[in-house]
């Protein structure tokens, strides 16, 4: 059951500030400063009500350590601000923020970084490979950001509406279903996109080079899989390019 509704102060401004939630990201407070800036927009009522000390204390708490998925930070911002308005004890507000880091990070990583983003990017690559060119890129930006902005807005509103009972929002069936579906959808889309991307990129190559490329890609995949955790795609790419440049220089 959610807490009784009250006037929502500055949700729009807070949402805008959330787009820069990682503006002052550091290895100690992580997103804390950005979260504090976004939350401040929701705390101004405390100052207007004449309680300057409560406002300053809440602003200070809002800027403490926080780390979660950037698109879902709004949930913690809204919930913590609502708790401050409801007069929840400071220690409980701190515990609420700390408790939200893990679940919001995990959900956001599954839903966005490992789901929605690679899914829509794979669709864009397929579109480019199939001849849609810049339309595929534009389609990616529009479709991806419809989901992105909707998630940010939902998170902030849900946080404000639920306050300290915000955990209930994370158990919404739609969210759970989306998280469950995004993995297989991403896997299928990336699987579809890879052969099409390979075909698109090798179109100008001579036939013999395409066979060499198949060997390089297969061997590279096995190497990267075998040495996962130590060898990255970037290091592998740089090494391979250095070898190719050396061979080209020696065999002119």
């Amino acid at each position: 059951m959610s807490a009784p509704r009250r006037r929502r102060p500055g949700l729009g401004l807070s949402l805008l500030r959330l787009f820069a939630v990682q503006g002052a990201y550091d290895y100690e407070r992580m997103q804390g400063i950005g979260v504090g800036v976004a939350e401040e927009a929701l705390l101004r009522d405390l100052r207007v009500a004449g309680d300057g000390a409560a406002y300053r204390a809440a602003v200070a708490r809002g800027a403490h350590f926080f780390n979660a998925h950037p698109y879902l930070c709004g949930l913690a911002v809204g919930a913590a601000a609502r708790a401050e308005h409801d007069g929840v004890p400071p220690a409980q507000v701190e515990r609420l923020r700390a408790a939200l880091c893990g679940p919001l990070g995990s959900l956001g990583d599954r839903l966005v970084w490992a789901g929605w983003l690679p899914l829509t990017s794979a669709l864009a690559m397929m579109g480019v490979a199939l001849g849609l060119d810049l339309w595929a890129v534009l389609g990616f930006l529009v479709v991806y950001n419809v989901g992105h902005v909707a998630l940010r807005w939902w998170a902030l509103r849900a946080g404000w509406n639920h306050g300290t009972r915000v955990a209930a929002a994370l158990h919404q069936p739609v969210l759970q279903r989306a998280a469950a579906l995004s993995g297989p959808a991403m896997a299928g889309a990336v699987g579809l996109a890879l052969p099409l991307a390979a075909q698109y990129l090798t179109a100008p190559f001579p036939e013999q080079s395409r066979r060499a490329l198949a060997v390089v890609a297969a061997g590279g995949f096995l190497l990267l899989w075998w040495r996962r955790g130590t060898l990255t795609g970037l290091r592998f790419g740089l090494t391979l390019l250095a070898l190719a440049a050396l061979a080209a220089w020696l065999w002119r």
Partner: protein, 223 residues
């Protein structure tokens, strides 16, 4: 000169988008590349290099405080190098410039985060007192620092692209350019497949990935 300024501005926006603001994914190579190509009047190279680096991007999962290469401004520089090399095989030269720039970009993000921590320490008393002005100033300075970082990384990438055009591209034979391109595309495909498989794991999504690969291969063969 105006073209280079436009590329520098675009690379800076792209670099800012990755972590700081607004994270609308113009930092993805599949967006950064084609727009750089559009600026240079060479959309095909932009799309091809964008797709190449998008494949490398699949190797990266930006969770928590993980360190990772920055492929956005790198793609802008890579498109510039590939365009200067003239011809479809310039993609290999673009990859050399782009991967080095991506490495530098990743290091620069780490440096900015350390600078942000130092600034935060300097203002910690005011932050603990709930000083809103100090909080806002710290936040704005962080964004400014990242914008300067993105501009520097893009500038470095564009300088490397010019160097590659003047020094590397001239003595490069067609065979050499082909080898570089084969190495670049092969590495990108390997990185994308291995990166995706790491995320997919051994669960039910693996079947979807396999089915997708078969479907994609069939579609490519039919075209």
């Amino acid at each position: 000169m105006s073209l280079e300024l436009a590329l520098l501005a675009w690379g800076t926006f792209v670099g800012l988008d990755l972590v700081t603001v607004p994270q609308v994914m113009i930092a993805r190579p599949i967006v950064a590349g084609p727009l750089a190509g559009l600026i240079l009047g060479d959309v095909w190279t932009g799309l091809a290099v964008g797709m190449l680096f998008e494949l490398f991007q699949y190797d990266v999962l930006p969770v928590g405080a993980a360190r990772y290469p920055e492929y956005g401004p790198a793609t802008v520089a890579a498109v510039t190098a590939a365009h200067a090399a003239a011809g479809p095989l310039g993609i290999g030269l673009g990859a050399v410039v782009g991967l080095v720039t991506a490495l530098a970009g990743g290091i620069s993000i780490h440096v900015v985060r350390r600078l942000n921590a130092r600034a935060m320490h300097a203002a910690s008393d005011r932050l603990e007192a709930g000083d809103t002005r100090a909080l806002m100033r710290l936040h704005a300075a962080g964004i400014g620092r990242d914008a300067a970082r993105a501009a520097l990384v893009t500038g470095l990438g564009l300088a490397l692209a010019r160097l590659a055009r003047d020094i590397v591209a001239v003595p490069l034979t067609v065979r050499g350019a082909t080898w570089l391109s084969v190495a670049a595309v092969g590495a990108a495909l390997a990185a994308a497949a291995a990166g995706t498989l790491r995320v997919v794991g051994r669960g039910p999504s693996l079947r979807w990935f396999a089915a997708g690969l078969v479907g994609g291969a069939a579609l490519a063969w039919l075209r």
